[in-house]
Symmetry: C2
Subunit: 316 residues, 2 copies
């Protein structure tokens, strides 16, 4: 594996002109409530509304000219698809996005808005992968996996570089985990720069394959996911698990009630829009899953893309 701190630093130089350097926000009220000093890294303010802009941009701009000319492809339909479409357009190449025919219109419009070329397929995993393979065979496009790709991981890891520039003396970094792209990138970068920082993954209790994998020291595949945090209904990737085992100190789980309470508190107190997946780290603090009293704790607010017509507290 060629993914190391130097690769992440190089990624940062590469993507810097194309992404936001997101702010770190603090709140006296949430500090008082938690007894810790909390530092919120606002990737909800990132381009396309989520950290995925970093990894996709790095992967697209890391391609050599000839490879790039044939375009890129993915079978993700969420924030990564929007981010890949945007990055491809910035480089002037095609992005082929395979999406199930029953995808929500808001996701289709987001990809179209960034110039992605949508290929619809039957709504099952096999059809998605087959359609993606076919597109790649036809066009010569490069598959950019949403989290198993090393350039994607390096791009997500740039969050840690900025965070540690802004707040050098952190005790903890709390990061959500789904496929593990942002977690593994951040953990590698943070431990490379400051080996004494504790990197803690936070995962919905209803999608806890990463926590199980971590405890059992082997990759656990979970068929059913049951969580409001739609961005984290993904199983941990194999290359990501290898990095998690090496660089992550612990994985804690958070109930959906805790995620929703955290999300609502962030909206009400900090006046920022955070999606359920991005509220999981603060949910872990609320639920007392991490002993952080008196500590300096960074929380990665991974994204802010929500459907304002279907907010979770309206369902409970």
């Amino acid at each position: 594996m060629s993914l190391d701190l130097a690769a992440i630093t190089a990624a940062h130089e590469r993507i810097r002109p194309h992404i936001h350097r997101t702010p770190v926000l603090t709140s006296e009220r949430l500090d008082a409530a938690s007894g810790a000093s909390l530092f919120f890294k606002c990737e909800n303010f990132q381009k396309v509304g989520a950290f995925k802009a970093r990894g996709a941009t790095n992967a697209v701009f890391a391609l050599d000219e000839e490879t790039a000319r044939r375009g890129v492809a993915t079978h993700s339909s969420g924030n990564h698809a929007a981010a890949l479409s945007r990055a491809a357009r910035l480089r002037g190449i095609a992005a082929h996005i395979v999406m199930p025919s029953n995808s929500p219109k808001v996701k289709v419009r987001a990809v179209e808005g960034y110039g992605g070329r949508i290929v619809f397929c039957e709504p099952n995993q096999r059809a998605r992968e087959e359609a993606c393979t076919r597109i790649i065979a036809e066009t010569g496009a490069t598959l950019i996996h949403p989290f198993e790709n090393e350039d994607v991981m390096a791009g997500q890891g740039t969050i840690a570089l900025e965070l540690l520039e802004d707040v050098p003396d952190l005790d903890f970094i709390l990061c959500p985990v789904g496929g593990g792209g942002v977690l593994s990138g951040i953990a590698l970068a943070a431990k490379g720069l400051r080996p004494d920082i504790k990197v803690i993954a936070t995962e919905p209790a209803g999608a806890d394959d990463a926590a199980q994998s971590f405890q059992q020291h082997q990759l656990v595949y979970q068929e059913q996911k049951n969580t409001i945090a739609d961005g984290l209904r993904t199983n941990l990737g194999a290359p990501n698990f290898a990095l998690v085992q090496r660089y992550v100190d612990d994985i804690v789980t958070v109930s959906d009630e805790g995620i929703i309470a955290a999300m609502r508190t962030l909206w009400e107190t900090m006046k920022i829009v955070v999606e359920p997946s991005g509220a999981v780290p603060y949910g872990a603090v609320i639920e007392g899953k991490i002993d952080c009293r008196g500590k300096r704790v960074a929380l990665i607010l991974t994204g802010g893309n929500v459907d304002l017509d279907a907010l979770p507290w309206m369902k409970f």
Copy 2:
């Protein structure tokens, strides 16, 4: 009137340790949609969630020691009441807040949370004023009017000082108007520093007493208010009108549909929580009420206090 640019500069020095210097945010997407360069001054991130923290803090800390010891009072029950309670606690004095007996619990809790002493009264304007007069007679407290008080206006005007430090070369400042405290403070400060800036007030069409007053060159009192923008259901104050006539270039009105669309766009695109009153300036841009193509335009996002269980797009 002793309110001038020097008073606003002095207010800024006075309140600086007690308030946030709020950021100015920009959005490529909203710039592209409007054809202008938009600068959003984020008073939704201010202490107590609204610009009212500035004026109340200035008024409380401008009192001499002996006067201050007798406390302060107001018959406002919104953001000003919370801001006055907070400012009084910072100075270690009492804040008497007269509120109607049918006030929403969320407002009562906000004032209590900041240490204000609530005096309930019958839910009509006369009872509120009588209760306030009685409290002042009993305690010797100083009435801090939410917008007619000069120290309050000077405090709100500090927004313009920060804004023009961060973005010196503005063409327009768009500011909501209710009682006119923030509008008159900002207009005075902005014209004092940069006489060529155009200051435009933006007002809900269903509460357009300021627009009518401006057109008719006399203060128009409006009994009925019909707008979602609950912070702007106030009639323009007399001292505020005098300053508006002198320093404000125009007043435009915005429909409630425009206000709601603006609010939703700010949440979705910028990932920030803005209350309906704070979205009125962007509503004016959406509805094409201001010819701002190619211009550099500041918009005052006055506050972010909303009830997340009753968002306006759920009612339409």
